[in-house]
């Protein structure tokens, strides 16, 4: 159904009518006075979908609104997968780690160039998976763990190892944290990234041990300097087989002497240290707080965090039940916590492409765009990961987001705008603009109203856009995507 674009200003009386109509329209989509009290509103369904994924499409919202909160959360969590649907690049198979020291300078240069190209292909592969996945929560959690157990191509070099780490993170994305932690400690990319592979008896390298305490489990202030030094000794000998690049334990490098780490002592090895860390209630608190900041708000509620942390620990660190409890909490649904988080570059890009079903001719363009906006997949800025939150929006990234939105929507291009590749270079602007008209026309009647579309695109009222027309239009869609409120989730 095609809608006419009305440009005239409506009177205040008409605006009231408009609100009423929006209510009726939404009602026809499943929310109304007749619906059971436990059913979700469209705004609630949208909130759950955007926070647990990257976008909420009209079809996804329509599917959730007959459900109660619990049922909706369960639907989303039960969709989780433990492997990607997109096949990895062909070079993942049969890779043999290069022996850099035995190569000529030209050959080394070639390896480095290949690594760069493959690094971009790997990013493109993940971008494609995030855009096309039937289970956005899986990708959101995989990215969450990538930002927790960081490793970077800059240091690790070999894209295959980052792919294998990504496979591990996805396998346990909603699985078990204890299993994940032990696997990460043996993960070759991690062993390279934090120098574990070089950690040997007599001259331990503390890099991994320090981050294990500070960033992966307890957080700063919950351990002593000596714990780090002793833990580093426990992990000596955890290395990599040079021929296969797989984990290998080198007994001759391992320090089998007695160590004292927190409350444990004896001839501890790495797994003993991890077990000790998992016994500390603070580990669960630390992880729950981080999830809270990711999914609910910047201000974790201490009592609730303690409750969820206890549940997490008592379940043996099962992630899915923890997420179910987190999404079921009143804080998650509280109106004052909606639209208060800033979209990450991945949220922004993947969410926009998913929502409008935009054609992507080359996923490497999305990877480059994400890097430009501050989130270079497989290359976090440092071991602490992307700081996120308000840090996503600075002068430079705001300008780049604006440029992307203008290009995607075929809207005005500001002076000096750099080309942000999206949907192929130099496509006619009119064609892109028409795409939004067509997208709108393909939606059901319930989603043709201006109020309904505003609710779909923005979690809070628009800043720059005044909603004057009763019916939505391609022009309104473009304005809403350019509104500052579109940066929020």
């Amino acid at each position: 159904m095609k809608t006419d674009v009305k440009r005239g200003r409506e009177s205040a009386a008409k605006s009231l009518v408009l609100l009423a109509c929006a209510g009726i329209l939404l009602g026809s989509a499943g929310v109304g006075l007749a619906a059971p009290a436990a059913a979700l509103s469209a705004a609630e369904a949208r909130h759950l979908l955007v926070r647990s994924g990257t976008a909420a499409t009209p079809a996804e919202i329509d599917a959730l609104i007959p459900l109660s909160r619990e049922a909706a959360v369960e639907t989303i969590l039960e969709s989780a997968a433990d492997a990607a649907a997109t096949p990895p690049p062909a070079w993942i198979e049969n890779w043999v780690p290069p022996r850099m020291k035995e190569l000529s300078p030209e050959e080394r240069k070639l390896v480095r160039r290949l690594n760069r190209e493959r690094g971009l292909e790997l990013r493109a592969w993940w971008m494609r998976e995030m855009v096309t996945t039937p289970t956005p929560i899986t990708e959101v959690m995989t990215l969450f763990w990538h930002n927790h157990f960081t490793s970077s191509l800059q240091k690790v070099k070999a894209p295959v190892l980052l792919y294998r780490q990504n496979r591990l993170l996805r396998r346990e994305a909603l699985g078990n944290f204890a299993r994940l932690l032990k696997a990460v400690a043996r993960d070759p990319a991690m062993l390279i990234y934090l120098d574990g592979a070089k950690n040997r008896k007599g001259a331990p390298n503390e890099n991994f041990a320090r981050e294990l305490f500070e960033l992966f489990t307890l957080g700063e202030g919950h351990y002593r300097e000596t714990d780090v030094k002793e833990a580093a000794r426990a992990f000596t000998g955890w290395g990599i087989d040079r021929r296969t690049a797989a984990f290998s334990f080198r007994r001759q490098w391992h320090d089998g002497g007695d160590k004292t780490v927190l409350s444990s002592n004896g001839p501890l090895d790495g797994d003993d240290v991890i077990d000790t860390l998992l016994e500390q209630p603070q580990t669960a608190v630390f992880i729950v707080e981080k999830l809270w900041r990711h999914f609910i708000s910047e201000k974790p509620d201490r009592a609730e965090v303690r409750r969820l942390a206890r549940l997490f620990r008592e379940s043996g660190y099962e992630i899915k039940p923890l997420l179910a409890a987190l999404f079921a909490s009143d804080d998650f649904w509280a109106p004052e916590n909606r639209g208060r988080l800033i979209k990450s570059p991945v949220d922004y890009i993947v969410g926009t492409v998913r929502l409008f079903n935009l054609p992507v001719s080359d996923y490497r363009d999305l990877a480059r765009l994400s890097r430009r906006l501050g989130q270079d997949l497989f290359d976090p800025p440092n071991v602490k990961g992307w700081p996120g939150g308000t840090d996503w929006i600075v002068a430079a990234s705001l300008l780049d987001r604006q440029a992307m939105a203008e290009r995607v929507t075929g809207g005005r291009r500001a002076q000096g705008a750099q080309t942000v590749a999206m949907g192929g270079p130099k496509k006619r602007q009119a064609e892109r603009a028409r795409r939004f008209d067509d997208w709108l026309a393909s939606q059901s009647a319930a989603w043709q109203g201006a109020e309904a579309i505003t609710l779909l695109l923005l979690p809070v009222s628009p800043v720059d856009v005044e909603i004057l027309d009763r019916n939505a239009s391609g022009a309104l869609l473009r304005q809403l995507v350019l509104d500052p409120a579109y940066q929020l989730k």
């Binding site: 639209g339 929006i393 929020l488």
Partner: protein, 393 residues
């Protein structure tokens, strides 16, 4: 990787810094004839620079014992005096040293050092004690504490690399920007009213948008009138950042602080190849910066200061690298400096947990810069009770 991901633009109370006219006097003696404020250029050596291989104690046997594979041979150092010499990769800095445009503060650190990158840089950024957590940058604190006495101070900060760190807080309007091309876009942003929405995330976005728009218009107007630099800068990330900084300073952009960053100093492994390359890039970029500003007659208005979260462990590790340590030397460059060495080199035999004991508190550096360069009052509580250094002629 030319992308710098930890940029932010700080929220400020609306209109406060923007109502201040372009060129402003600083404190007594800070006003140049041109009416353009002095600029402090902060160079963050991200990752923690190995001080012992930067300023080398080339006469000490303990140094060579601790560094069997990484020590710089005595006959290769660039001698500064009878005990200390610069790493040979820092050769491009020697003309500045000879002209007394280079001063080196030795053994800079703080008591009860923290060896976490993030915590320690937070301490450096906020001039806090080891156990005290502060959230605002030391420049913000200085301006804030100076209150009325800093009412004339220029308050524009520009971050070209890394996080806002020392500038964090609302006493400065801080613009984080990749390059000049972005200025044109920034000037075209929609203007919006400053009314608070009650939503902190949205307020942040609107504040960034407003400030970017305003600051960009001011900076762009200045740059439009200036001519391009003749000096060729190295094609490194730091070289590009300092070229931008030089263009802004030469163009009389009224920034009181410009921050740049060089990354890669976290040399846990393979330091022998990486560290000299990093030092070489640092020296080449700083030498070009000095040359460009001398060429444009603006060197008198500049003070460069390096800083990092920590130095590195005295003893090398088994990976041919060095782990997180404590005290390290830091560089000052500028035409107004006395030059030479400041403070004393920490002992290599009287160590604490295998690390150097600091001999100079980093807050004394800040106190000197705040008082004698930015023209703020002496004795600010933010920098503790110790006296400032005697940096300037």
């Amino acid at each position: 990787m030319d992308f710098i991901s930890r940029r932010r633009l700080l929220t400020t109370a609306a209109a406060l810094p923007l109502a201040i006219p372009l060129a402003l006097p600083l404190g007594p003696g800070a006003l140049r004839a041109s009416g353009v404020p002095r600029t402090l250029i902060l160079v963050e050596l991200n990752g923690g620079n190995d001080g012992l291989n930067t300023v080398v104690p080339y006469r000490e046997a303990a140094y060579y014992r601790a560094r069997p594979t990484l020590a710089v041979p005595a006959d290769r150092v660039l001698q500064l005096d009878q005990a200390l010499g610069l790493h040979p990769a820092l050769e491009p800095l020697m003309p500045a040293w000879q002209d007394k445009d280079l001063a080196i503060a030795l053994g800079v650190g703080y008591p009860r050092p923290n060896r976490s990158h993030f915590r320690s840089i937070e301490i450096w950024n906020t001039a806090s004690d080891s156990a005290e957590v502060l959230h605002q940058g030391w420049l913000h604190q200085a301006l804030q504490e100076a209150g009325e006495q800093a009412s004339g101070a220029a308050r524009l900060g520009i971050v070209l690399g890394g996080a806002t760190g020392p500038l964090a807080g609302d006493a400065l309007t801080t613009v984080v920007m990749k390059n000049r091309q972005q200025l044109a876009r920034a000037a075209g942003l929609p203007e919006n009213q400053s009314a608070a929405s009650g939503n902190p995330a949205l307020d942040h976005i609107l504040s960034v948008r407003r400030q970017t728009h305003d600051a960009a218009n001011r900076i762009a107007a200045r740059l439009a009138k200036s001519s391009p630099l003749k000096t060729v800068f190295p094609k490194t990330s730091l070289g590009r950042q300092l070229a931008q900084a030089a263009a802004m300073i030469a163009g009389a952009v009224p920034a009181s602080v410009i921050k740049v960053q060089q990354g890669g100093y976290d040399t846990h492994a393979g330091q022998a190849g990486r560290h000299p390359r990093l030092l070489g890039e640092l020296a080449a970029a700083l030498a070009a910066f000095r040359e460009a500003l001398i060429e444009t007659g603006s060197w008198q208005r500049c003070l460069v200061m390096t800083y990092a979260e920590f130095g590195r462990r005295v003893g090398e590790n088994a990976s041919g690298g060095t782990d997180h340590g404590t005290a390290a030397p830091h560089l000052f460059m500028g035409a107004r400096l006395r030059g030479g060495l400041l403070g004393r080199q920490p002992s290599l035999t009287d160590l604490e947990d295998g690390d150097l004991r600091h001999s100079l508190d980093f807050r004394r550096l800040y106190a000197s810069v705040a008082a004698d360069w930015l023209g703020l009052p002496r004795g600010l509580a933010a920098f503790g009770p110790q006296p400032p250094l005697d940096l300037f002629t």
